[in-house]
Symmetry: C2
Subunit: 766 residues, 2 copies
């Protein structure tokens, strides 16, 4: 420990004197911390190459009418010096309740820096009885801790605010965490938006973000609020130009995201470029969905190619209400020169707290089908009647209203799905549109939109649950909140009690449309608190949660493993809304899935929707590409999203969905490149069986899978589901071959992936 007295003397010198280094356990990453001109600053290298140039840390705080002495309102930007540094190492292996691997090693070196900030109180707010004293500037001190954890696969760091006299409650105007990139990297990005992450990923150089931005926004989404023409979301995947690393020409893969975001606003990144802070009129044509920062920061901007954090505001434009002791989420930078390592990283899970639930026996991986796709496609409806321009729940006699004849969640259809699930070993059946209120549910600023307990007249909740249970199947509950969160919280206890009564053990929640109360956003501090409140209330009722349109995950499923899935990205539904690019599913594992599993709802076999509905849209994937997603898009919750009759039409291919596991002892990423291809082998939990999946972009490719991971001396029944030679996601998506053979360790499989296609392999130990 450095002596405090020296620091008091020396911290005033403007230049670096106390730079502190911490190295990852394998020595590849080096984190350097320093205080430069009173501002905390960090940088990061990987194998000797700069990853993050010196980047500053800090907070602007808001002025509030309730502050007492004014100390809680001074910015946490300048005037810092180091009080104490501690370096420690941590190494443990833990077992997730469900996951890609049975064991996860959490091994890092930690640098903990305690900072002291000198704050001069403006005289006008300092009151002293003696007017002479009154004239002297009052100096006070505040304290902030920075904690850095350096892993072999990246860096996590966070701010911590100890409880202290001069910093008890504060309002965040903006967090100013910088991530200074070393050049004009290629990035896979979504436009920064306070309310949606359901856009197509853009692939551009950093310098091209501004030019692409307006086109990248999904203006038609049910809730859109962009804030800057260079604002992007995390998790942000980047790739550098090739450089010399270990004597080879390699690129670095860099991912910026966050971990353990609880009761704190979701972070976006704003890229500083040469036009930043010029008056921007680029988004004015859509001004009612564009929320510019009302007041730019007075602090000097960093250099171009730097990302600066931009938090999601509340209805009044502020970013957070804080009470010490508290801390921010971890800001994460995953880095490697091997793209496969980006997918294998557990850094974000490791930075989350261990499981907070005592009993996890009721949590289980789940394969399910559901009354869903035909509504998404537009062939049937969530709502029961069309006879009212709007409804109020307490003013409708549901028994006497006229049905529209298109309501999907009816007894007959649900029984059909239950039968299908039972026959094919699926665990649960999701039923959307079972409860009253769907007649006018979204974006009406209607608070009391659902009650979550009243079924439509043609949905016999007791009978259907009994019927399902008699066949070993469970129904999967659906709670669409329509983003009226106060309404959901008012009903949530009764809603979960109803689930307990009828034997539901999982719920899909939804947050379509703008948040009610007006002015709040999907990714604000209050909404992030709400999502976690729901997860905790669900756990109290032994309910698993699959949260749609909620904020992007940050690994909280480690602490709350009943959070078994989520959406928070562009899911399969968009195949019915105009389609997604074929490379979309080769990007998501690098970005969205870093924070936790996604309920992508794969498995579309009949991709031309016009063959069975009026929907002209079509899914950009082959049948074998769809099968591959059950492996490349890891989730403990996997849907077979297409209709039972479509699966019956391709029953031999459906066999793979019947067989595939969704919980794993081991996972090996064999091949990977963002937006191009992913190949992974996974060993099914508690068995000796392996499954291998490969998914590629619109180019097609040939994969080479060396079966080195099999047990030596053992034989495996191998079934290969591969795209036919002439298969193509648009022209010939249903052409596949199924081949069976016996294989052993050391064998090699050469597998053709059609454009927009993929393959799936099951390896059953004999």
């Amino acid at each position: 420990m450095i002596k405090r007295i020296e620091l008091l003397l020396l911290a005033w010198l403007p230049l670096t004197l106390f730079a502190t280094d911490v190295t990852s356990p394998d020595g590849n990453l080096v984190l350097t911390f320093d205080v430069v001109g009173g501002r905390p600053t960090y940088s990061l290298t990987y194998k000797g190459r700069e990853v993050v140039r010196p980047s500053r840390l800090g907070f602007e705080l808001a002025k509030d009418k309730h502050a007492s002495l004014g100390l809680d309102e001074q910015d946490l930007m300048e005037g810092f010096f180091i009080l104490k540094t501690d370096t420690t190492e941590f190494d443990e292996t833990w077992q997730p309740v469900w996951g890609e691997t049975r064991n996860i090693r959490n091994h890092y070196k930690e640098l903990c820096v305690e900072l002291q900030q000198e704050v001069r109180i403006p005289r006008k707010v300092a009151y002293e009885p003696n007017p002479d004293i009154h004239m002297r500037p009052m100096v006070n001190y505040r304290y902030m801790t920075l904690r850095f954890r350096v892993y072999n696969d990246g860096l996590g760091f966070r701010y911590e605010f100890p409880q202290q006299k001069n910093l008890n409650y504060f309002l965040i105007k903006e967090e100013h965490t910088e991530f200074a990139m070393t050049g004009d990297h290629v990035a896979w990005w979504l436009p920064g938006d306070y309310d949606t992450q359901e856009q197509e990923t853009q692939q551009t150089r950093l310098s091209e973000i501004r030019g692409r931005f307006k086109k990248a926004v999904n203006w038609g989404n049910s809730s859109v609020a962009v804030f800057s023409p260079t604002g992007v979301q995390t998790s942000l995947q980047m790739k550098t130009d090739a450089m010399d690393i270990d004597g080879q020409r390699r690129s670095l893969y860099i991912n910026i995201h966050e971990a353990a975001c609880k009761d704190y606003a979701t972070m976006h990144l704003e890229l500083v470029d040469s036009l930043t802070r010029q008056l921007s009129t680029e988004l004015d044509g859509n001004s009612n969905r564009y929320t510019p920062n009302p007041e730019p920061s007075p602090y000097p901007l960093p250099e171009p190619f730097t990302f600066v954090s931009h938090l999601t505001p509340d209805a009044t434009g502020l970013k957070g209400c804080m009470q010490t002791p508290c801390e921010t989420p971890w800001r994460t930078i995953i880095v490697s020169d091997d793209a496969r390592q980006m997918l294998a990283s557990n850094l974000i899970l490791n930075l989350n707290d261990p499981c907070a639930l005592d009993d996890v026996s009721w949590i289980h991986p789940t394969k399910y089908c559901g009354v869903w796709w035909e509504m998404i496609v537009g062939k049937s409806s969530w709502n029961y009647t069309n006879d009212y321009p709007s409804i109020k729940l307490d003013q409708i006699d549901w028994q006497s209203v006229k049905p529209n004849g298109r309501h999907a969640a009816n007894n007959e259809k649900v029984k059909r799905y239950i039968d299908f699930a039972a026959k094919n070993g699926l665990d649960e059946v999701l039923v959307e549109g079972w409860n009253v209120g769907w007649e006018d549910w979204a974006n009406m600023w209607k608070r009391d939109v659902f009650d979550f307990v009243t079924p439509y007249p043609d949905f016999d909740i007791q009978m259907l649950n009994d019927y399902a249970h008699s066949k070993g199947v469970k129904l999967l509950m659906h709670h669409e909140t329509s983003s009226s969160t106060q309404n959901y919280e008012r009903h949530i206890k009764e809603a979960f009690q109803l689930m307990n009564r009828y034997g539901y053990d999982a719920v899909k929640t939804g947050y379509v449309g703008d948040i009610i109360p007006r002015g709040d956003h999907h990714y604000s501090q209050s909404m992030n608190n709400h999502y976690l409140y729901v997860i905790k209330e669900a756990a109290r009722h032994h309910v698993m949660v699959n949260s749609h349109e909620a904020t992007r995950p940050t690994g909280l499923c480690r602490t709350y493993p009943n959070l078994v899935g989520g959406e928070s990205a562009r899911g399969t539904e968009y195949e019915a809304f105009g389609g997604s690019r074929p490379d979309h599913t080769c990007i998501l594992p690098f970005t969205r899935l870093q924070g936790g599993p996604m309920d992508y709802t794969p498995g579309i076999f009949v991709t031309r929707l016009s063959t069975w509905s009026d929907n002209p849209s079509w899914a950009r994937i082959t049948i074998c590409g769809s099968l591959a997603l059950y492996l490349t898009m890891y989730s403990p919750l996997q849907m077979a999203a297409d209709l039972p009759e479509h699966y019956e039409q391709f029953d031999d291919a459906f066999q793979f969905i019947r067989d595939v596991a969704c919980d794993w002892d081991e996972s090996i990423y064999l091949e990977a490149e963002p937006a191009d291809y992913i190949t992974v082998a996974r060993k099914a939990k508690g068995t000796d069986n392996w499954f291998v999946g490969g998914k590629c972009d619109e180019q097609g490719r040939d994969a080479v899978v060396k079966l080195d991971f099999l047990d030596k001396g053992r034989k495996y029944d191998c079934t290969i589901y591969a795209d036919a030679k002439d298969a193509h996601y648009e022209k010939n998506p249903q052409a596949y071959t199924i081949t069976k053979r016996v294989v052993k360790k050391g064998d090699t499989l050469r597998l053709h992936e059609a454009p927009g296609g993929g393959f799936a392999v099951s390896l059953m130990a004999k």
Copy 2:
């Protein structure tokens, strides 16, 4: 009924053609309705004298990104014509669960006007496949109903919006209901404020409001948000200059308020004067508590001396989210040339819906004392420890923290209050500060401030309830929400379950400080919905509610009689915060009490707080003035607010509080003048006993009470509690005389009221 075809032709003429009159049952009031230049307009006369000059009605609507064709966004201001008018009469007598009288007559004549509005859709938002059609202006129709009820004591009217194709959901930018006064009346007003109504009432001419405004604001309140230098609150009491009425020189008393405000923003009134819409800098010195309307209305202003409605906004500045069918609260104008009639009016209760509760057997009038005044005064504390600069509920081991030694809600003290209540026939004992969280509860933007179920270690909830019940007393629950409404709603079910478990049947709720989530206001639509949600949830648990710092009441206690009281004004606590003017309690019955009873917490006997605490404040009232309040400030919930030891010191005077009823079969206002004096006689429910109380301002006076209301031929034991001759609210507040005699109908009592004093009389039938 006027033929529609004629209307279609004639409604375009700019001048009055179809003015419709409705007269009150006694013929004194005449309401005239008309459509002038396309705008609905009303006026009101009383005994041939103009009360409200022609005043326009309408709504500005907000533009919203989710609107479809734009029809829901067109203002409801112009282009109206009359489709149909209906005049009906209604007369019934109903019995309140509790009240000032056993029977209430609801007798009115009603005018119902169905209006049609022609709306021309701006072409840019009208989409038609044929571009030729596209160029024609599209005309559509919308419908709005105005319902006027004319009583002998005033007028109520509201807007109703039927369900219709072109008006389903709309956002209110502002309601433009005008109340055009006939001159520069004297008014008793509070500064219009979105968050507090705890100011001293101002008495000025209308023209003097602007000049007085800044001084009238209680800038030190825990939550202040004023919006205009001529904005005032309702209920607003006015008095005209004397005029010839029925051959006498009389003034008119006029009161503007509202009835049945549910899921709608509370209304303020903005006075139009010659300076209106000039740029106002008058409030800039307190700009962080001043929220000017962001965008002035484009419609022409009315004449000076007109009040225009101004609703409380949400966090984004809008005033309401509406879904048809729906209606506004009633806008009420009580009018009389007899001030006593203002106090006797039941107009606001009558305009509310009948009781919505099936079982009201658990609702009862209540006299109570409480562990409260000594904390308000500052002698003891709500919080248990002083050892933390801030606390988090889930991080404190309450058993091991160091007590501050000042915590009032401890077992010993509460038992002392229970003993006192039992000995003196008080029904309940309020205990504030019983639950953890008071260490840092207010205005910290701290969401999770209380859990409403965890007692401090020195409050044995089981023992104390058992002890109270063994003596025939109940404890009265306290839920301070600190205005963190989301937190309260999350805990409310468990909080009420805890009350049921221990046998509480009433709760005092509190909303101190600014609303969380930030940006919302105490009187917004969402908060008014919240208060009603709490009342309904309480009713489900058979809990009576006494709501402090909530919005001012509008008669909802008729529909939900478990709403037994509220604060929503400057209560007795201000006697410990610097004091209130002696005439304050002679104004409140004309203003605040129009909407429902107030938990004023009267009964301070030891008015110099410095005699028993360090508080230099003193109550501006004599002991007999305090006794009078139990009659002049009607409430079914009456507190004996002072300390038991203070009552024991004046046990002979306290006898009146022991004796007085708080539920009545009959009430007769004998004398009244706003801010000067009120004398009332009340007959105790289910008995033949009467009580008479008189309260006056700082002038003192002599009251003459003719006992004409007693039963003929019956004798009554009369006890008179009167100010001594030399009593004075400041110099000699504890000087009183108690006289006993036997009286009969026709006798006259001459009673001296000291400056700031009053009298109380009990008349027990022999």
